[in-house]
Symmetry: C2
Subunit: 342 residues, 2 copies
């Protein structure tokens, strides 16, 4: 019997960052195993969500972690050089290491040698399975209603919305399955494929495999984690491959209230939501035309609930669609809207 | 000094296929080195474009080939099992082997061992370079007019149209460069990245690198080879990543006259051309909105020139855009249309 998993999250330099720290927050909020400490030297001594922030791997050992999880998503998925020392330190202290970056720790000769010496495992959550291929058409034969979260930008809550809708559906006794398509989703659910790490030609094929697997796991309602955005200048290809490969019956469009520009891409505007709704509906497969069923608005930037509610009402009026913030106000209203449309 | 390249094209079972034999035809028509034989056992004894078709590697040796090039693109880029024997036979006869499939011959232990024994090279045209990443914004700073060929389906002539426009532009003394994005384009031009073989997250970054490189090679007009189609249920992700990463100033929309369904995907319709024009223009980067400058119509299915001309006139009337078949009638008219719009 293996020791119960106790997680040290590696967030060095980025644990406070809303975009790059999203893996950490996903694991803390939705993961099945306890997070016992967060490593971020600049914030050492603070608490986050009731979890102590520590300076070094050594400082974390009193909380008895068994595994260190890379909790930040760097741009392009590469390790900043200082991270190598951090990973070596974790291995030397006997911790398994899990990473969702594109640079695979399980293929790094120095880390492999060190891991063998200390008897720990290196796992790459983003490493695609062997044998992927193009779609076969099985996506259109899955006997489940498929819902994909899409969005106006990266890191605005597409995964969180899918998880919240799935939790709410299961609370109601529905046979719902959350379908993970990225490293954090995989860390939360324990299965999945990081579609952005797949060879481009097999992107839609990987998405197809995921919805087939979601149905095999008993899902009659599949809540598929979206990736990127159709209007993102870096990641739009991933988004469209996922849209066509997962073949959703409906979209949930996610948006950060008030955003008008792609984060990190100055001069790249986010089009009005009405245009985004139409663009997604037009680009859905003619064999399975999908509508945007509702808008999930991320109102985290608004402190007062009243302001959040006003933003939501404005978006609902602007788009003519049901809108809510499912993290702030619960996922019930959006799930009702969704179930009425699939 | 190495021996001049003389090519044996491996087309076993597919050399006659309009879709899967497109690599072969591209190399025969536009490649700088002579093709001395085509291997396809079922068609042995025939001639194609003045080139003898042979049954076995042995039969090709009287034509003194130096390199065997895999001339067919199998679905998903895998080798059918019978191909392994064929490749081993080429190596055993002292031929280098080049392949554009996703299954890398240069990483296959059995083939590597055999190649070392016989002193030949194994090259994978589709293997991406190391160190790819997301786009940096350099695509928007390239000092060249960028034109991307897009299309209603795969294998309808996007590469050929880009090559023909480039040849015509250079004939006129323009500083034009053809930018290859797939295995055949790479085989023709001797450089490039097969964007469909790149990790999905780095798709747009690879496309950016290609236009930067095209300008570095002296291009003031870049004719970028398109891939897939926005409406293709298997490959649309590659298409959109290439559109956003190459950041074209204008599109040339390619279409096979009369096609109404995606080849090989029964039930997946091709939308009307007017809708395709609008979809491409809407999905182009807001930072660099691009128009469809003209339509390149593939009229190969029409035997009589009169019928081809009638099809072209109908498409021009339907879309309100200049249209022509640049392979059948020359690329001059479409190049004029393009230059008037970039």
């Amino acid at each position: 019997m293996t020791k119960a998993r106790r997680i040290l999250i590696l967030g060095e330099g980025l644990s406070h960052d809303p975009q790059y720290g999203k893996t950490m927050r996903g694991i803390i909020r939705y993961g099945p195993d306890p997070v016992v400490a967060i490593l971020d030297s600049a914030r050492a001594g603070e608490m986050q969500d009731g979890i102590p922030v520590v300076e070094t791997v050594n400082d974390s050992l009193c909380f008895d972690p068994t595994v260190a999880v890379v909790g930040v998503a760097t741009q392009g998925g590469r390790f900043p050089p200082a991270w190598r020392e951090l990973l070596k330190s974790c291995i030397a202290k006997g911790l398994d290491v899990e990473s969702g970056l594109h640079e695979y720790i399980s293929e790094d000769p120095e880390l492999i040698e060190l891991a063998q010496r200390h008897g720990v495992e290196l796992r790459d959550l983003r490493k695609p399975p062997a044998g992927l291929n193009v779609p076969t058409g099985a996506n259109l034969e899955v006997e489940a209603k498929i819902v994909l979260t899409v969005g106006s930008d990266c890191a605005i809550g597409k995964k969180t919305v899918a998880v919240e809708l799935d939790l709410e559906a299961r609370r109601r006794g529905l046979e719902s399955v959350f379908v993970p398509t990225g490293q954090t989703g995989i860390a939360i659910a324990g299965w999945g494929i990081a579609v952005d790490a797949v060879v481009s030609d097999f992107l839609a094929g990987a998405a197809e495999q995921l919805v087939v697997e979601g149905a095999r796991r008993g899902g009659k309602l599949l809540l598929v984690e979206g990736q990127g955005s159709l209007v993102h200048p870096m990641y739009s290809g991933v988004t469209l491959g996922l849209i066509h490969g997962s073949a959703p019956h409906a979209f949930v469009l996610c948006h950060r209230a008030g955003s008008t520009e792609i984060e990190g891409c100055p001069g790249h505007p986010i089009p009005p939501l009405v245009e985004l709704v139409e663009l997604h509906e037009r680009i859905s497969l003619p064999r399975r035309p999908a509508k945007v069923a509702c808008i999930a608005l991320n109102t985290a930037d608004f402190q007062r609930d009243d302001d959040a509610r006003r933003e939501i009402a404005e978006v609902a009026a602007e788009t003519g669609l049901p809108a809510d913030d499912p993290v702030r106000f619960g996922a019930g209203y959006l799930l009702d809207a969704l179930l009425a449309r699939v």
